[in-house]
Amino acid sequence: MRSQTWLRFHSSLVYIFLYAPILMLIVLSFNRSGLPTAWGGFSLYWYAELLQNRALLNAALNSLLVASGSTLVSAAFGTLLAMGLERIARNLVLDAFVFLPMIIPDIVLAIALLSFFTFIEMPLSLLTITISHIVFNIAFVAAIVRTRLSYFDNTLEEASLDLGAPPLKTFFKITLPLILPGVIAGSLLAFTISLDEFVIAFFTAGPAQPTLPILIYSMVRFGVTPDVNALATIVLSLSALLILIAQRFGGTEGFF
């Protein structure tokens, strides 16, 4: 009983540590004065300002496009890759190569990608950012799906095939539903990483279409406006909603 009280105390400390800065940001987004140091009264002023700030909204939209595009593609390829690695090519070297994009420092990958795009003379745009994000997102999805696959009961698939289901039907009816939580968890991770990734996006971005992190960093020198807080609050609420939906969707078994 006593150890439980301590555990509870400890976990609330951890939650405060994790969420106090975020709470601060949410509170500041409602601060009329806009200064982090002075409270000017509750107001939705910065939300109204945000609606006028086309550049910021466009950047947010660009980020969402890149994040969803790269997530969808890497969810499919990452899952297939994980299955291939687990079933066909159980090979240490291949394994290591898959995880390389996760481990390489961002800046190295960013410069490599930009050099590559320059070499093949591909014009930089949102597409090049999306492709670059797919590069490392595939690795994250594959890593998570593999953990799910590693305790996959192969007899279920065998039974399905024995009973006459064609391989594709077996995949959709048996395999996929069983590894789906892994796929979704991987996709969520990929989405969040892509949404706030800065270095690689900066290097592979074309002009005129900055993602949200690129725009916000470039504002630091002359023009950070408090409507950034408002936008961050909205993005945060959306992400929280997304995670809640995903958890519901995963049912009681949980994902992680």
């Binding site: 930009l114 539903p177 630091v220 049912g251």
Partner: protein, 374 residues
């Protein structure tokens, strides 16, 4: 239980295929206009007006009037795409990795332009193509890197302090590095490498561009000692710390000290008696730019006095343009006295230049200073 899950996955898969299909054809579509554009510029005798077409520029956000691009396009017919960068290091990294391709005009600080020019990535500026440059102060054109970089703004670095809370007038870098006891822990210094090193370099009487390892050793020792009385290394919020009183004396760029003065009139700026740096923000044209005529047209537009006046009034930076500095209101100059530091005075300070090979020594020392005492 299985059916809804499967359903959602099918939707996911279909949208995925849609994205994949949408992605592939758009790739040649995006690159195909690029190919005729290249052949066009390869053929010199095109009957097209020279100052037409499209240019790509990169700048910090909000470092020029928000309607500048629109007005420029309306006047010249040249389309402009704006990319944004947050630091000199980033944009230099991007230029080096792409071998200078992709941009026609880039805003960056002088010593970085100097370094990029040494790599052969910048095209030399033909000032004859910039009628507006006649208004630039002669002094600024004497800085060597202006051969490759057109000055946009300039200024120096000094001490910015709360005259109401500091009961004497600081005038030396030692006021920052070896502060009086009442100021200990109420001091910030800039964290970007060159400006982090500057106070110690100048206090010890060295050049701000020194490449001497022995001198840099002394600089390092002094900075590590100074760290004990430091509140923070701070590049972006030091003036807010002055306004709130959390800091009383900070190392600051002149223009940024003005941001503090705008909120508290008791804040003062002084160039230390040991001397300081001269920094210049510039515009450069990367060598591979395919529309240099339009790039010159753009730079010339930015050199117009009304743009410079906007910069002085809104960014609170000095502009090396005599038409601008003569036109500023006395109100502005009284509120922000450092705006009227004359060019002769600025030129007494030492222009920051690329230090070449010694840059790795600089980075090493900065890293050691930042890591010390932890």
């Amino acid at each position: 239980m299985n059916t809804p899950k499967l359903w959602v996955f099918v939707v996911l898969l279909v949208s995925l295929v849609a994205v994949a299909c949408g992605g592939t054809p758009s790739q040649p579509a995006a690159s195909s206009p690029e190919i005729p554009a290249q052949t066009e510029s390869a053929a010199p005798a095109q009957p097209q007006a020279p100052a037409r077409g499209k240019i790509v520029i990169s700048n910090w956000d909000a470092y020029m009037p928000s309607d500048l691009l629109e007005k420029f396009t309306a006047e010249t017919g040249i389309q402009v795409e704006l990319a944004l960068h947050a630091t000199n290091e980033e944009i230099v990294g991007k230029l080096v990795a792409s071998k200078g391709k992709g941009f026609d005009v880039v805003f960056m600080t002088g010593q970085f332009a100097d370094a990029v020019a040494k790599m052969g990535l910048l095209s030399e500026i033909d000032y004859a193509k910039l009628p507006g440059s006649a208004n630039l102060f002669e002094e600024v054109k004497r800085i060597p890197f202006t051969k490759y970089a057109v000055p946009y703004t300039w200024g120096t670095t000094g001490l910015c302090y709360r005259s109401d809370l500091v009961n004497y007038e600081p005038d030396s870098w030692y006021d920052l590095l070896k502060p009086k006891p009442e100021l200990a822990g109420k001091i910030t210094m800039l964290s970007t490498d060159r400006w982090l090193l500057l106070p110690a370099q100048k206090a010890l009487g060295f050049s701000a561009n020194t490449t001497d390892a022995g001198e840099m050793q002394q600089v390092k020792d002094l900075l590590i000692e100074a760290k004990k009385t430091l509140l923070a290394y701070d590049d972006t919020t030091f003036y807010s710390k002055l306004v709130s009183g959390e800091a009383l004396l900070v190392e600051a760029w002149d223009g940024w000290c003005n941001y503090g003065i705008a909120e508290n009139a008791d804040i003062r700026f002084v160039i230390p008696k040991e001397g300081s740096d001269l920094w210049v923000d510039t515009m450069v044209i990367p060598a591979p730019s395919e529309n240099k005529e339009a790039a010159y047209a753009f730079i010339d537009y930015v050199l117009r006095p009304e743009i410079g006046a906007w910069v002085a009034e809104n960014i609170l930076y000095k502009v090396p343009n005599r038409m601008v500095m003569g036109s500023l209101s006395t109100d502005l100059l009284t509120t922000f006295p450092n705006l009227s530091i004359p060019p002769q005075e600025l030129l007494k300070q030492e222009a920051l230049q690329d230090v070449g090979e010694a840059q790795s020594l600089y980075s090493e020392i900065v890293a050691e200073v930042l890591a010390s005492g932890q």
